[in-house]
C-alpha cells in the first residue's frame, strides 16, 4: 500500500484500525540467492538496493532480535559528510545525496532534518585545521562554512562563548546540509520498501554458524534451521568480529561500547547539532524535545551493550560546561551499543578471503549517516562480486598493504578514532 494523504484520510475514517502491516513475517525458505545477516539499517538498505537496482529479489534478511534493535535504534542520528580524506568524502557525500531523497524514494518519512552540524574549534590550531578540512570539502563539492566566534554565538545562543569559558570558542566548521533523521523510521522504511519488492525479512533468527565447502560459503546455520545461499553478507555492526570468526577469519577490529543519553523533553532550545572534540561531547535536540547527548567510548573491549558511569559523567560534564544553561535539566534515559572499532577508524565494505562471504562493518562512531550509501555500495558489491568505485578503498586487505584510511591520523589504536 502506498502511503499518501488519501490513504491517511481513508484510514482516519476507520480510526486507524485497518492499516495493513508494513511488511510480511514469512517463514524462512530453504535457500536464497543472497542472505544478509543483520536487520539494522545497513542490512535492510542493502536488501532494498539489491532488489531495486540489481533486480535480485530472492533475498533474506536474518535478524537475531527485532529490526533496528542494534545500533540503528541506539544511535544519536547525526548525519554529515564533512570528511577530509578523498575516499571518505566521496562515499559519505553519496550517502548524503541519498538521504536528501530518501523519504520520497521509500515512500516513508524518515524525518531527515538538515539542521546543520557545527564542529566547535577551541584553539587557533583547531580553527586552522577546520579551515583546511572545510577547503578540502568544498574542493570535493561538499558544503562547508568556517564560522568565527561571533557567528557561532549568534547561531547557538545557549553556548557559552564568553572569554572566560572553560572551553573558549574560537569558531566552528558548519556543514549546513548535515543534520539528523529518525533512526527507527530508517529501519522500518527500508524494511517496508524491501519487503514490497519481495525480500523476506526474518526476525528472531540468529545466525549461529557459517557453512563452508572447500573455502566457499554455501549457507548459514540459524536458530531456525539451515538456510542455503551462494552469497552471504555480514552486516552485524559490533558483532562483525564474532560472526567472521565462524568462518575462521580474524579482523582488524575491536568491539567497544558507546553510550548515549537523552534528557527530559524541553521546548525547542537548540536547532542545530553541536559537537566539541576538545570537550568530548556533542548535543542536538530531538523532535520530541529531548536533548540527545553523546561522547566517547568506555574505552575497553565490550560486547555488553551497557556501559559505566564514568563515560556518562564525562559527557554530562562536557555538555554542562559548554551549555551552562542546561545544568538543571534532568536526564531521562541512557543506553549503550556495541560498535566495531577498526584500526584506522574507517569501515570495511567488501569481499573476504572466503568465496561468497562479504563484510559490511567496522562503522566505529559514525555508521548511521552511512546507512543509505553503505546499502547502495554493498548491494552492488554483492550483485557483481566486486566493490563499487566508492567502496574500493574500504577493503579488508588495506591494512596489510599499507593503505589505511586514517581520517584523524591516530594510528592503529581503535579507541582513538
Amino acid at each position: 500500500m502506498r502511503y499518501s494523504f488519501l490513504s491517511l484520510a481513508r484510514n482516519a475514517l476507520t480510526g486507524h484500525r485497518d492499516w495493513p502491516p508494513a511488511w510480511r513475517s514469512p517463514e524462512p525458505r530453504a535457500s536464497y540467492d543472497v542472505i544478509i545477516v543483520g536487520g539494522g539499517g545497513h542490512g535492510l538498505a542493502t536488501a532494498y538496493y539489491l532488489a531495486k537496482d540489481h533486480g535480485i529479489t530472492n533475498v533474506a534478511v536474518l535478524e537475531k532480535g527485532y529490526l533496528g534493535g542494534g545500533n540503528t535504534g541506539r544511535n544519536t542520528t547525526i548525519v554529515r559528510s564533512n570528511y577530509l580524506l578523498e575516499a571518505n568524502a566521496h562515499f559519505y557525500e553519496k550517502s548524503m545525496k541519498l538521504w536528501e531523497g530518501l523519504s520520497e524514494d521509500l515512500n516513508y518519512n524518515v524525518m531527515f532534518s538538515q539542521r546543520g552540524v557545527l564542529n566547535l574549534a577551541h584553539s587557533d590550531a583547531q580553527y586552522n585545521a577546520f579551515g583546511r578540512r572545510g577547503n578540502a570539502m568544498r574542493l570535493n563539492g561538499i558544503d562547508a562554512e568556517l564560522l568565527d566566534r561571533d557567528q557561532v554565538a549568534a547561531m547557538v545562543p545557549d553556548l557559552d562563548c564568553s572569554p572566560s569559558a572553560r572551553f573558549p570558542v574560537r569558531g566552528g566548521l558548519l556543514q549546513p546540509r548535515g543534520g539528523t533523521a529518525r533512526h527507527d523510521a530508517v529501519a522500518w522504511g527500508y524494511a517496508r520498501a524491501a519487503d514490497a519488492r519481495g525480500v523476506d525479512i526474518i526476525q528472531n533468527c540468529e545466525v549461529t554458524g557459517l557453512i563452508r565447502v572447500g573455502g566457499r560459503i554455501t549457507g548459514v546455520e540459524t536458530t531456525r534451521g539451515v538456510i542455503k545461499a551462494p552469497k552471504v553478507g555480514l552486516v552485524v555492526a559490533g558483532h562483525t568480529g564474532h560472526l567472521a570468526a565462524m568462518a575462521g577469519l580474524r579482523l582488524p577490529i575491536e568491539s567497544h561500547v558507546l553510550q548515549a543519553m537523552v534528557s527530559e523533553p524541553l521546548k525547542p532550545v537548540l536547532d542545530t547539532v553541536v559537537t566539541s572534540g576538545a570537550a568530548h561531547g556533542y548535543i542536538s535536540q530531538s523532535d520530541k524535545g529531548e536533548l540527545v547527548m553523546g561522547g566517547d567510548l568506555d574505552f575497553y573491549n565490550s560486547y555488553g551493550q551497557r556501559g559505566n558511569a564514568p563515560a556518562l559523567e564525562h559527557v554530562v560534564r562536557s555538555i554542562v560546561t559548554l551549555f551552562p544553561r542546561y545544568g538543571r535539566v534532568r536526564l531521562m534515559r541512557f543506553w549503550g551499543g556495541i560498535m566495531d572499532m577498526t584500526m584506522d577508524g574507517s569501515p570495511i565494505i567488501g569481499t573476504t578471503p572466503v568465496d561468497g562471504l562479504f563484510i559490511n562493518g567496522g562503522w566505529c562512531y559514525g555508521g548511521f549517516k552511512a546507512t543509505p550509501g553503505s546499502g547502495w555500495v554493498f548491494a552492488q558489491t554483492l550483485a557483481k562480486g566486486h566493490p563499487h568505485r566508492l567502496n574500493e578503498a574500504f577493503s579488508l586487505d588495506r591494512f596489510a598493504s599499507g593503505h589505511a584510511i586514517d581520517e584523524k591520523g591516530a594510528g592503529p589504536i581503535p579507541g582513538a578514532h
Binding site: 568480529g241 564474532h242 570468526a245 580474524r250 579482523l251 582488524p252 577490529i253 575491536e254 568491539s255 574505552f299 575497553y300 573491549n301 565490550s302 560486547y303 555488553g304 559505566n308 558511569a309 564514568p310 584500526m343 591494512f399 596489510a400 592503529p412 589504536i413 581503535p414 579507541g415
Partner: protein, 87 residues
C-alpha cells in the same frame, strides 16, 4: 564503575587506569615476514567472553598489568604482573 585489582596497589577505580588493549598479542621477530607484522599491528581475536588485556595504572603506580575480564559481563576474574601471567 570497574574495580580493577592492581597487583601492586590493590583494588582501584577504573578511572585510575588507561586501557592498553589485547594483552596476548606478541611482537614478532624483527625479520619476521610482512604478514606477521600486519597481524601484530592490526589484527585481534576480539573474543566474546574472557579477555586478557593490558591496563596501565596511569593515575597510580604507573605500572602495566594484565587483567582477565569478561567482555560480555565485564566481570574481572584476575590480574597479574606482566611476566607472571599463567598460561
Amino acid at each position: 564503575m570497574l574495580l580493577i585489582p592492581c597487583p601492586w596497589c590493590g583494588p582501584r577505580p577504573q578511572t585510575d587506569f588507561t586501557y592498553g588493549g589485547d594483552g596476548t598479542v606478541v611482537r614478532p621477530a624483527e625479520d619476521a615476514p610482512q604478514a606477521a607484522w600486519a597481524d601484530f599491528v592490526f589484527v585481534r581475536d576480539n573474543p566474546m567472553g574472557p579477555h586478557r588485556e593490558l591496563w596501565h595504572h596511569s593515575a597510580g603506580c604507573r605500572r602495566w598489568l594484565v587483567v582477565e575480564r569478561d567482555t560480555v559481563t565485564h566481570d574481572i576474574t584476575g590480574s597479574f604482573k606482566p611476566g607472571e601471567v599463567p598460561s
